[in-house]
């Protein structure tokens, strides 16, 4: 299916296409390259960043330009300029000694450093946007698309979903999501939640084993053209299972076990309950699933591409 020619389903229309960088107000944009600074009594005028999903937005207000400059790259593809009432407004204030505090309708929360603050804001923003669309089934997964069809990569943290999604994007796939994928039960289509992916730096072969969760993460800056802006059907579900010494092994996963794994990663199960069970069972009957054990991400990405090619040939 040609991406440009495909119809845009209704539930995606309100997103408004690729947001320009100008969604960041002038003060924040100007500060983006300034590095740390502005602590304490900032002289910069307050800035606002609006991050949106399907017409719902979260506003970040801050007198510290480095805050907006830190958040913006993570949500670059979800920026939502506009003047409508946001779902919530998170106010961030710089304090002395490179500390910050933010308030999200409740008591102020202190962050001891800028990276610490950015990570917490990322969590809060993501949660608010997810909660604004409870009718969707939110899966803990990455997703990429090619030829109008997606491969979903559900997995716990550290199993390689971001690494594989990013690698596949470098090979021409379109990016849908890194960590959280919305599945619309009304249409059966996967939506884009293109928060910028973060990949872990794995030690070279022969190094002492290191826990995936303790590896440093790097934000991957995708071009707007790399991001899929339409809803797509799933072609396959691949459960990645990175392990430092694992040989490459792609094995079919039975539909019932796939449904079970998807339910385990259903982030808003509390909202859907039995509805999610019934829907994900039905979805698993239609979408083939596999488990992919690997240690070499390049090999694993090639195997997924091969899988996709197999499907293409079958189609």
């Amino acid at each position: 299916m040609d991406r440009a020619a495909s119809p845009v389903p209704a539930w995606f229309r309100s997103c408004g296409g690729v947001p320009p960088r100008s969604a960041v107000t002038a003060s924040a944009s100007a500060a983006a390259g300034n590095g740390p600074g502005g602590h304490g009594t900032s002289v910069s005028p307050p800035g606002t960043l609006r991050i949106g999903f399907l017409g719902r937005a979260v506003a970040i207000d801050s007198d510290a330009p480095e805050v907006l400059a830190g958040v913006e790259p993570r949500f670059r593809h979800l920026l939502a300029p506009g003047a409508g009432q946001p779902l919530c407004r998170i106010e961030v204030r710089a304090l002395p000694d490179h500390r910050y505090e933010f308030r999200n309708g409740g008591p102020a929360v202190e962050a001891k450093s800028l990276p610490n603050l950015i990570e917490r804001l990322t969590y809060q923003i993501t949660l608010r946007l997810m909660e604004s669309r409870p009718e969707l089934i939110w899966l803990h997964a990455a997703a990429v698309a090619r030829h109008g069809q997606a491969v979903v990569l559900p997995a716990d943290s550290g199993k390689g979903k971001s690494t594989l999604a990013t690698l596949l994007c470098s090979r021409g796939w379109s990016f849908l999501a890194d960590d959280i994928v919305p599945l619309d039960p009304a249409t059966g289509l996967l939506g884009a939640f293109p928060r910028s992916p973060e990949i872990r730096h794995r030690p070279p072969n022969g190094s002492a084993p290191v826990r995936a969760q303790s590896m440093q993460k790097t934000l991957v800056d995708l071009e707007p053209a790399d991001v899929c802006r339409q809803n797509v059907p799933a072609r396959a579900v691949v459960f990645p299972a990175f392990s430092p010494a694992s040989p490459l092994c792609l094995t079919p996963c039975s539909p019932a076990n796939a449904a079970l794994e998807l339910l385990r990663g259903c982030l808003n199960f509390v909202h859907h309950g039995q509805g999610a069970v019934a829907y994900l069972c039905d979805w698993s009957r239609r979408v083939p699933a596999f488990t992919l054990a690997f240690s070499d991400p390049q090999e694993a990405a090639s195997r997924i591409e091969g899988l996709s090619a197999d499907f293409g040939a079958a189609a």
Binding site: K112, D156, S214, S254, A259, L267, Q274, A278, C281
Partner: protein
């Protein structure tokens, strides 16, 4: 001190020694045993606890006799996990037994409102839940001693109290990180003991309770582990502690899943299956009402709404499940399945009957069958346990 060795109870007791060192540093002195009745091989006195409960607690909790048989039974279950047993000996200052007058066998327990380290109180209505409650409270005690408290943690965690996280996606409850970690760590102890019970030579009742505890806790453990990995702010001690913790947790999750996900006859323990098979000539298992069945070509996914439990059955387990109609005995189920695969009743292999019985036991352990006047006492699932 290797902080990575503090999370999991160590066979050499080094984590217990460190905890005691920390508590002594705060002025704690463990009072000696003064001729009282004891448990844990004479190391932990059983004492009355006076004046520490709230009005609501006093209404339903009555002191239990110090020689209540469930205390020794609970200690015997904890002994299946030697490192935890030794830790109980080292860290528990006293155990105060109570009976819950509501006649529930779910053990409630307390450890942090008595003003002194190491005192725990627990209901003794059921020996297995008491054992799980004791190790759960010991986990809380350990974390408190290490500095993870409700006031800003003095060690390990740096997250502020005002920052809250979704503790359980099914209830929507939000709590600060220190509470999330306490809940996680205590549940980890519970799962670890449950696995020891399932691996050990415990009877059908402890095994059923342990299986239910695993089914309840394992998904939550995995969910919260992700939150902790992504959002816990750690000092140097915390980094070491959680390195060891996640290594332990990964092993527990793997073992726990082996019990829960593979609900197939071959995954059940043969010895329990054969014991059950001998007793199942008159038992007519019946599928629990309200279980949602989602059928696939060769499998079925079961979902129990009031437990939020989902599991998949392969074709063999499904065949047994479908014959649990309340009219067919376990032996008859075995014969019917045997005929389907070409055996006459006379040549039905014992192994097949054992596997069918094991599957029925597994269904019972997971609470998937209706109580049955014959099945219940044999399997031990309706002796007053709360579901």
């Amino acid at each position: 001190m290797e902080w990575s060795r503090l999370a999991e109870p160590q066979p050499d007791g080094c984590d217990t020694a460190k905890i005691l060192q920390l508590t002594r540093g705060r002025g704690y002195v463990r009072p000696p045993v003064n001729g009282e009745r004891t448990c844990f091989d004479g190391r932990v006195p059983i004492r009355d606890l006076v004046g520490a409960f709230t009005e609501d607690q006093r209404r339903v909790l009555k002191p239990a006799p110090h020689d209540h048989p469930n205390i020794e039974k609970a200690c015997a279950l904890i002994r299946l996990w030697p490192a935890a047993f030794a830790q109980c000996q080292g860290l528990l200052e006293s155990l105060s037994p109570f009976l819950d007058t509501r006649k529930t066998s779910t053990a409630s327990s307390l450890s942090d409102q008595f003003g002194s380290f190491g005192q725990i109180a627990a209901t003794v209505n059921d020996s297995t839940t008491l054992a799980l409650a004791i190790v759960r409270e010991m986990a809380h005690l350990k974390l408190h001693a290490l500095g993870v408290r409700s006031s800003p943690a003095e060690r390990i965690l740096l997250n502020p109290l005002a920052e809250t996280y979704l503790l359980d996606p099914r209830t929507g409850a939000r709590h600060p990180m220190h509470r999330l970690v306490h809940t996680q760590y205590a549940a980890t102890y519970v799962c670890a003991l449950s696995i020891q019970i399932l691996n050990g030579l415990a009877g059908p009742h402890p095994r059923a309770v342990a299986a239910r505890a695993l089914a309840s806790h394992l998904p939550k453990l995995e969910f919260r582990a992700g939150l902790i990995r992504d959002h816990a702010r750690l000092d140097r001690a915390g980094e070491g502690f959680f390195e060891g913790y996640f290594s332990w947790l990964d092993r527990l999750l793997g073992e726990g899943r082996a019990f829960l996900v593979a609900a197939e006859p071959s995954a059940c323990r043969p010895e329990s299956a054969s014991v059950a098979a001998l007793e199942m000539g008159r038992v007519r298992p019946s599928r629990l009402a309200g279980v949602h069945e989602n059928t696939f070509i060769n499998e079925t996914l079961l979902y129990v709404p009031n437990k939020n439990l989902a599991l998949s059955l392969n074709s063999s387990a499904r065949a047994v499940w479908e014959l649990c109609d309340g009219n067919t005995t376990v032996i008859e189920i075995s014969r019917k399945i045997g005929r389907d695969v070409g055996y006459s009743d006379a040549e039905l292999p014992d192994s097949l009957t054992g596997q069918v019985a094991a599957a029925v036991v597994k269904f019972h352990e997971l609470g998937l069958l209706e109580p049955h006047e014959h099945l219940a006492p044999k399997i031990g699932l309706s002796d007053g346990q709360s579901r």
